[in-house]
Amino acid sequence: MRPTVILRLARKEIVSTLRDTRAIVSNLVIPLVLVPVMMIGMPLLLGSLFEREQVTVTSVGVVGEANVPAALRAAFTAANLALEPVADADGAVRDGTVDVAVVIPTGFEAELADGGSATVQVHSKVGNMKSELNASKVQQAFAGYQAEVVAARLSAAGLDASVLQPVTVQTVDASSQAERSSGQLSWLIPFFIAIWTLTGGQMTAIDATAGEKERGTLEVLLVAPVRRAEVVAGKFIATMTFGLSAALMAILGIIIGGAVMARLIVPRLGEGASGMVNIMGGSITLTPATVLTLVVSALLLSAFVSALLLGIAMFARSFKEAQSYVAPLSFLFVIPAVALQFKDLIGLSDSVYYVPVLNVLVLMDNVVRGVGGGREVLITWAVMLVAVVLLLRFALRNFKRESVIFRS
């Protein structure tokens, strides 16, 4: 193999792709803009919605409004809940008049005053986020009222309220700073990198294979005194360049998004919203070592994807046909990346580091959360390297097969 020939082949593919405005927008601009927007926008949106729901006075339908004791009415008012009489609790929730409705039975206050118990109903739509959120506010108001009634009864019996809670359970967050700041959405980083590695390399890979066939330039190239291995290597380098550049743009987007969030947004938010931002992973910050591990992992992922794309797209007769071949590949990345959010429930064993692609996704998720060790990194990188070599052999085989080159 002659390096000058390989670089000449790669350079031509790179120049050709760089002159395609669509490729530049999808490879460089979109990841750089979309990733920070999603990182900042999503948690901010949910955080502000959460905060708004806390302070907004919500109408609660009530059947038996006359039966509501003054203390319970006060608890509702304190929780920003306004009682609105309705005739039918279920009907009012169903037709959207209110998000939640309560039914207070006749004699409710008298029953409690006599030391008895009473049942109230809370009607909400299970599965409707807003309805459930307001239902939980209502339940909190009832809980507050109930605590008052219990305290009064204990006091009348000469007992202290602490008698009901002999054991105090204190929960302590044992996660590291990195785990805490990555929240529950650390999987989004491998997800973004994987998706843009695939998207970034796709156009170049298809253009360099099925596109060459469709234009009638492949035959010209193959009758030049170049070796098939050089052709594959040149196209591989070009494809990887764009896959990696898109992934790097996504990483840069994550860094920018994290910095903007930590320095400009979080300090200005209320407690509720900033808590939500943390849960959603909006305060992810990456250390230089994390970035380095992400970059090397993205490089290997990009090499894997590029070799796979070249091998598969070479089968196609046209650009369109190649697109239909490679489209299902996104599932290969999206499904494991999305499944990563349930990693704690699934309980991943060490064997995942031997499964190409999945291992890189898990590794990237680990480094963002600051967990995992060097052994996992080495296994992952070695497995990916072997997989890349095998896929390159697959691509080369296709570039040598007459039935593939002249498939029409």
Partner: protein, 250 residues
């Protein structure tokens, strides 16, 4: 070296279909050799074998003195190929395309520029050199395709249905170029189904039908088999004779 192309018993099958069957011919320096036959006769497969793109199932061939199987890379360095379906890179200019391929043939930048200047005069490349190929007309495209094929001054150039789809002006430019190309050390193999092109261009030709060579000779010798009615009549008589001998209905 007198024979620039020598094919001996070439055969190639795709599944159960014999595309080329025991084909032999030789092309001497300074001649335009025609490969004449209807669509599907095996012309393109033959040329692809000689251009090292396909491996023959049987038989041997040399091009510019090099074996097409054992010395494929040297064969490719000594040939140029032009066919009707060849395209260009839409986002590169004519000059960039020529520099790209010149580099693949091991030419230095200055040598490529000098050769581009020569080919510009010969083919009137004009503003195709500065414009991106995506906006070329068919004629402009074919000029750059030819320039690319002869950039490295190959000993043998293969034309395969090279005038297909071209307008009359572009077609004339291709034919004029083919006429002028052969010299003491160079030859052209010209594959076509158009009889008039063979009559105008070729010194000698072979007729391929159903993968087999059914006749070979000078154009005058081939045409003589049509009893004075021209090459087309001769072609049909040869084809009918072949089908009859094989028991195939005409």
């Amino acid at each position: 070296m007198n024979e620039l192309v020598s094919a001996n018993g070439l055969s190639k099958a795709f599944g159960s279909v014999k595309a080329v069957d025991d084909l032999s011919f030789a092309v001497k320096a300074s001649e335009v050799f025609g490969v004449l036959g209807p669509n599907g006769a095996g012309k393109t497969t033959t040329l692809r074998i000689l251009a090292t793109l396909l491996q023959p199932d049987a038989g041997t061939a040399t091009v510019a003195g090099y074996d097409i199987v054992k010395d494929a890379e040297r064969v490719r360095a000594a040939i140029g190929v032009v066919n009707g379906g060849m395209g260009l890179y839409d986002r590169l200019t004519g000059r960039e395309i020529l520099h790209y391929f010149g580099g693949l043939y091991g030419m230095r930048s200055a040598a490529i520029e000098a050769r581009i200047a020569e080919l510009d005069k010969l083919l009137q490349l004009g503003d195709t050199l500065a414009r991106r190929a995506g906006g070329f007309s068919t004629g402009m495209k074919q000029k750059v395709v030819i320039a690319r094929a002869v950039l490295h001054d190959p000993q043998v150039i293969f034309f395969d249905e090279a005038t297909s789809g071209l307008d009359v002006v572009a077609r004339r430019a291709v034919i004029d170029f083919v006429k002028a190309y052969p010299s003491a050390g160079r030859a052209v193999v010209y594959s076509t189904h158009v009889m008039s092109e063979v009559e105008e261009l070729c010194d000698r030709a072979c007729i391929i039908y159903r993968g087999r060579k059914i006749a070979e000779g000078t154009v005058a010798e081939l045409a003589a088999q049509g009893d004075g009615k021209g090459l087309e009549e001769a072609f049909f008589r040869l084809v009918n004779r072949y089908d009859t001998s094989r028991g195939v209905a005409a």
